[in-house]
């Protein structure tokens, strides 16, 4: 059966299961079970969708059967479906981690529905082909993330949540404003249609202004310099599983939105817009590096590594050539996987040692050997040591940078890897090596349970790196569309 609604399932299924969970507030076991079931079914749908996109090209649907620019279009191209699949996969593993790490009190107060709602928003934002609808999905994922960040109501959580909310309220207001401006100028909301119409009028100055505003809006979500300052504080507040979800998924939505708009809409004044993107991304990398070295707190170190990765990915995007673009996509998915793994791992370290301050750790290698190795492999993946997952992305991004003639910026990107290595290895050298310190009593069983999702993630990331050859056709499809918007436009408008 040719199922035309396939592409909505990864959005709808988590949504539906989240709603069902609302009826089961007190039954934690049922909640856990249904969450996993819902996610696995969503994953199956997403995988099926990948296959369909691979064989039949871009999948589109215009909701309510209205013709394309008038209804809301959903568009699954390879980039979006890959991100959707990765997000579901990561959510499954973090939910597994949550079973032991989040605690029953939070589970009883709608933790799982909030996770599923957030995934709904994320997948929706990745899939939608309508700029205002993207705003709505951003709000879905944001409000769910508000719930998650504050859930538990600890003193520090509350304090940081206020800041997190404020920043996002501002960026949401700016998002609405920017959509309004764009609508005023081109009179449409459908993204393919916007692209076609901008091409028609040749991106005059006002559209470039709007392009810059979009960059700022998404830059706030995506933690781009100079808009990232809110992130390190806010992300350090919620419990580890939530931080893992945020770190792996949330900024990526901002990155996706920048990538989408800067390859689909605003491609007629690249010398201005993409140069700005390039400068900001390099500055993001540098500022991330400063932060990654400045702290002795595990969470902060890894959080600043999120920021570095944001810069690296957007640097790749800003090159607007094939190597840079497919490198950025490779790196984006790699970073989602590896950050999820890293956050779970440091979550385990923190729960084992009872502190997140590096100075109070030492000698874990003697008592938690497998954790040490897992962490080490993850770090090498993070840095991009071949054949692990970060390598191909970085290689292609560097190639793209050189090909586009951005020599020095590219060298900075390369050097940033050494800072990433230093910052992450410091954790290894301090926490795992050295004289063992006295550990608080902890539950060996939950430690083993928590190692499972971490191990799975690390294995997946290794496979991702080693089997690059199999992934290349998919990445090529994804970057092709980004570089040839006409494929996207035709798929949506000419039906």
């Amino acid at each position: 059966m040719n199922m035309i609604n396939l592409l909505i399932l990864p959005i709808l299924l988590p949504f539906l299961f989240a709603v069902i969970l609302l009826f089961l507030k007190e039954n934690i076991r049922a909640q856990r079970l249904l969450t996993i079931v819902g996610l696995v079914v969503s994953l199956a749908a997403a995988l099926r969708l990948i296959w369909k996109v691979k064989t039949a090209g871009v999948q589109t649907i215009t909701l309510g059967s209205w013709p394309a620019p008038f209804g809301i279009s959903l568009v699954s191209d390879m980039l979006s479906v890959l991100l959707v699949t990765t997000s579901i996969l990561i959510t499954i593993l973090i939910v597994l981690y949550s079973f032991t790490a989040i605690g029953e009190a939070r589970e009883r107060f709608y933790y799982y529905p909030a996770v599923l709602f957030m995934l709904t928003g994320i997948n929706g934002a990745f899939t939608t082909g309508d700029i205002f609808n993207m705003f709505v999905f951003f709000e879905v994922l944001l409000i769910a993330s508000y719930v998650l960040i504050v859930l538990g109501g600890e003193k520090r959580q509350l304090r940081e949540s206020i800041k997190y909310l404020l920043v996002n309220v501002i960026s949401s207001a700016l998002f609405v404003v920017t959509v309004g401006l764009l609508y005023s100028v081109v009179g449409t909301l459908n993204m393919a249609d916007i692209s076609a119409k901008i091409a028609e009028v040749g991106q005059p100055g006002i559209i470039t202004v709007i392009a810059v505003l979009f960059l700022l809006v998404f830059g706030i979500k995506g933690a781009l310099f100079p808009l990232y300052f809110w992130l390190p504080g806010s992300y350090s507040a919620p419990p580890m599983p939530v931080l893992a979800l945020f770190g792996a998924l949330l900024t990526k939505v901002g990155l996706y939105a920048i990538t989408r708009t800067y390859t689909l809409f605003f491609i007629h004044d690249v010398a201005f817009t993409h140069e700005l993107l390039l400068v900001l991304s390099v500055l993001t990398v540098i500022m991330g590096c400063v932060g990654a070295l400045a702290y002795f707190d595990l969470k902060q170190i890894i959080i600043y590594n999120i920021i570095i990765a944001v810069g690296v990915i957007l640097f790749g995007v800003s090159q607007m050539n094939e190597a840079g673009m497919s490198g950025a996509i490779f790196y984006l998915i790699h970073d989602m996987l590896i950050k999820a793994a890293l956050f779970i791992l440091i979550g385990i370290i923190i729960s084992v040692t009872g502190t997140s301050n590096l100075r109070n750790m030492g000698g874990l290698m003697k008592t938690h050997t497998s954790l040490g190795w897992m962490y080490l492999i993850t770090v090498f993946g993070l840095v991009g040591i071949p054949p692990l997952s970060g390598f191909i992305g970085k290689l292609l991004i560097v190639q793209g940078g050189f090909e586009a003639g951005n020599t020095w910026a590219t060298v900075i990107i390369l050097i940033s890897s050494i800072i990433v290595l230093l910052s992450a290895m410091r954790i290894f050298v301090y926490a795992f090596w050295g004289e063992p310190v006295k550990l608080p009593k902890s539950d060996r069983r939950s430690y083993r349970k928590e190692m499972l999702p971490a191990t799975l993630l690390v294995v997946i990331s290794i496979v991702y790196g080693v089997s690059t050859e199999w992934l290349i056709p998919y990445m090529a499809d994804a970057s092709d569309i980004l570089l040839n918007p006409s494929i996207y436009i035709d798929a949506v408008l000419k039906e």
């Binding site: 035309i4 609302l22 909701l63 309510g64």
Partner: protein, 140 residues
């Protein structure tokens, strides 16, 4: 209990029903004239909020013994269910259908699946707004 409380409470009861009826009216009118699920739901919430001002939280909870979170969930299910109907018919998600029917008492009526969706909206708005109001009011 003071006298003007009694007056207020009586008045509130009356106004409550008036507003509730008005909200239902506005809900049904929405497809053709200003109104719809949102405004309808919000008005209904306003009506309940009025009761809250007149009585206290506990009384209102006894008057309206709903778990509003469940109301939210039902509303959402209703909306999702309507939209998902199109999956079964393999037409794009959210495709509506409408037709004119002859119903006894109502005469010729246009029935639109959008109404079902809007009913979901109505319920969600009441449920969510009331959850918030009750939670804030009940916070001790």
């Amino acid at each position: 209990m003071k006298v003007n409380d009694v007056v207020l409470q009586t008045a509130a009861k009356v106004v409550f029903f008036i507003i509730l009826l008005f909200s239902i009216f506005i809900f049904f009118a929405g497809h053709y004239t200003p109104g719809g699920g949102f405004v309808g739901g919000l008005l209904a919430t306003g009506a309940i909020a009025l009761l809250l001002l007149a009585y206290d939280l506990r009384t209102v909870q006894q008057l309206l013994p709903f778990n509003f979170m469940i109301v939210v969930a039902i509303g959402l299910l209703l909306s999702i269910g309507m939209a998902s109907g199109s999956i079964i018919f393999n037409v794009p998600f959210f495709t509506h259908a409408f037709d004119d029917f002859y119903l006894p008492l109502f005469g010729a009526t246009s029935l639109h699946t959008a109404m079902i969706f809007d009913a979901g909206v109505y319920l969600v708005v009441i449920g969510a707004a009331m959850t918030i109001i009750q939670a804030i009011g009940g916070d001790s």
